[in-house]
Amino acid sequence: MKILVAVKEVASLDDDFEIRDDELDVDEDFLLYDLNEWDDFSLEEAMSIKESSDTDVEVVVVSVGPDQIEESLRKCLAKGADRAIRVWDDEMEGSDSISIGRILAAVAAKEQPDMIFAGVQSSDNADGTTGISTAAYLNWPHAAVVAGLEYKAGDNKAKITRELEGGLSQEVEIDCPSVLTIQLGINTPRYASLRGIKQAAAKPIDEMTLSDLDLSAEEVGVNAALSHVRRMYIPEKGMASMINGTPAEQAAKLAEIIKEFKGE
């Protein structure tokens, strides 16, 4: 039994950031990198299936990106993933989330997993499409925003609870193998143990390129992308006013504003 967990190293904004001269992204100096928050939950879900199983379960994490993403893959290894795969080729630069889905599907074709987990979305781009497009390229069943999962290694069906709008939940039975996009809060992700972190630093990370995946340069990268960033900018801020004066005056003004909003 094998579970493939798709993860992403996401960028978060540092303070006082600047946009690049070409206005297509934030200046690299102002970006901080970390493992996507949703992926912590996907990995934990895979790990708990592995740990509660009587049979062997291999958890393999995969990510598409250049050298720097190895740090995030090592975090996953430190938490107990058995293997990590980094997929990269210069031709993949500029791939959109649909193309990433195509690449992950090609990895799945090689790895032959029994289940694929991905985060609902990444915190930087928030497309929410990578997991679902992977399923589409594989022609596998899929379920998005999974907030509960009942599944044992080897089962041919999984019972899932999906989170819907308005506080609704939906119970779904899904055929396996399938692709599930995992929601925050489905479990409590573990911390990597110190020993795990040190061991992970010495563990090998497998690398795959376009040729390993039988993909052509035309199928990935900026030219295959179905959407392109035209401009990134900071929109003009809305109206805000400071409440000045003595503390008592500020408190009184604040109380007035609250009353006004409440229609009193």
């Binding site: 303070d15 911390y191 003595t246 008592a248």
Partner: protein, 465 residues
């Protein structure tokens, strides 16, 4: 398919500051370098500067980090980069000398505003800003900066007499003569702030006492130097907020405050019950109050008689019973009784009580509640075997309590040096029981803040060797 791997490095325990700095240089890590920069000699500093300033993104990262040592921030102030300057001017650790240097070359008003707000800005720089700047927001920042002294505030008032009355009337350094001027304001809030001010002249207090405005009276009642002659008038004021402000004022003698023990407003009685200087007799009266907040405050007071504490330990409200369990004068017998309370918060208060004995803590250690177990784990009276068991808990709070327990032994703490939660390892860098050898394992910790803390601790230790 290509396979990658990363090597491990081993650095020996340093015995001198020089060796420690060499270790940081060998690691090439910005956090370790920042921690030892202040203790390094000039040659080593040059090498550390190379590590610290090599990449702009590292400078930006450390420039905004609140733990970055002041001398590293001073180093960064030599770099010509507007974004770095913004971060230094915002960083609360940036020291006066660095800010003085930054101000000298600063022409950008939004950056001058950051210096005007900074709590380490010197009164000299603030005075210069008060003299040279015209933007109202910069000057408002000056009026809100606790470092602004009398000359700064007087100059702002002189240059912009009517714009900052609210801020000036509330600033602790505003002198009596300026307060006297401000009291002539038409704005009741400005006059109220003047009346509350520690430097408010007696003649203004007298005027305020004759004022019928509730805001003025409430602020007068809060004045720490309130003359006794006005207390009687304020304590019987019709407005409950004035009575409450009076009873909250610790400058008001307790014998006058207690006249409000039967006040019709529970908010007033709560404020009275929160006073620490109440006598047993008054506390007993408050212990029978209908309002559970009043009883709760009273139950916390160490002057509460034991028999009354005993009665309150049966109170229907669990917050009151918890207050009894937190009372420093609660007897061991009472703690034993409360250790079986139905509410876990009450039992947790018992577990944290300094008088809780070993047997009682042993009994509480059988519980499953995290708050109760955290109390047991942090208690110096807990049996070492019990602490050992708790140190293996899967709960972060419980293991942290073990680390914070002053009675935790070295043997017990050593396994926790590998705790998965970085904050726990960081706490152990400052632990007094662990040896240098024990702590040195943290020098190459995966978490940057742990490495910084470990190198900072060794720098301090070896410097004073």
């Amino acid at each position: 398919m290509q396979t990658l791997s990363q090597p491990n490095s081993v650095i020996a325990l340093p015995e001198t500051v020089e060796q420690l700095v060499s270790s940081a240089i060998a690691l090439g890590d910005i956090y370790s370098a920042a921690a030892v920069y202040g203790v390094a000699d000039q040659d080593q500093r040059n090498q550390l500067e190379h590590i610290l300033c090599d990449k702009r993104r590292d400078v930006l990262k450390l420039g905004r980090w609140e733990h970055t040592p002041a001398d590293v921030l001073q180093l960064f102030s030599q770099i010509e980069d507007k974004v770095v300057r913004i971060r230094l001017e915002k960083n609360p650790s940036t020291q006066t000398l660095t800010l003085n240097g930054l101000y000298k070359g600063e022409h950008n008003s939004s950056l001058i505003s950051l210096i005007a707000k900074h709590h380490n800005a010197s009164p000299e720089v603030l005075l210069k800003i008060a003299d040279e700047e015209n933007e109202l927001e910069i000057l408002r920042s000056l009026c809100l900066n606790p470092n602004s002294d009398e000359p700064v505030l007087l100059l702002v008032n002189q240059r912009f007499s009517s714009d900052f009355h609210g801020e000036l009337s509330s600033h602790p350094a505003t002198p009596a003569e300026l307060l006297e001027v401000l009291y002539n304001s038409d704005d009741p809030y400005v006059r109220a702030a003047v009346v509350k001010h520690e430097h408010c002249p007696v003649n203004i207090l007298k005027l305020a006492a004759a004022d019928n405005d509730v805001i003025i009276r409430r602020h007068l009642a809060s004045n720490k130097n309130l003359p006794a002659v006005y207390v009687q008038q304020l304590i019987t004021n019709q407005d409950s907020s004035v009575r409450r402000a009076t009873v909250t004022n610790m400058g008001v003698p307790v014998n006058m405050a207690i006249t409000l023990v039967n006040d019709e407003e529970s908010l007033v009685r709560r404020a009275l019950a929160a006073r620490e200087d109440l006598t047993s007799e008054v506390l007993v009266q408050l212990a029978h109050d209908d309002d559970h907040w009043v009883r709760q405050w009273a139950a916390r007071n160490p002057n509460m008689p034991e028999d009354e504490l005993e009665r309150l330990s049966d109170d229907s409200n669990f917050e009151v019973r918890r207050a009894v369990a937190r009372n420093t004068n609660a007897s061991e017998q009472l703690l034993i009784k409360l250790s079986t309370d139905i509410h876990h918060w009450v039992r947790a208060a018992v577990a944290f009580h300094p008088k809780a004995g070993t047997d009682l803590l042993q009994k509480l250690s059988q519980e499953e509640d995290v708050d109760v177990l955290s109390g047991v784990a942090s208690h110096p009276n807990t049996h070492p075997e019990t602490i050992k068991l708790l140190s293996e808990s899967i709960n972060d709070d419980i293991r942290r309590a073990v680390i914070l327990n002053p009675a935790s032994s070295r043997e017990l703490l050593i396994p926790l040096l590998e705790d998965p939660y970085y904050l726990h390892r960081l706490l152990l860098t400052r632990n007094k029981v662990l040896s240098n050898e024990d702590k040195w394992v943290l020098h190459d910790d995966p978490d940057p803040s742990v490495r910084f803390s470990a190198f900072s601790w060794f720098a301090k230790k070896l410097l004073h060797k």
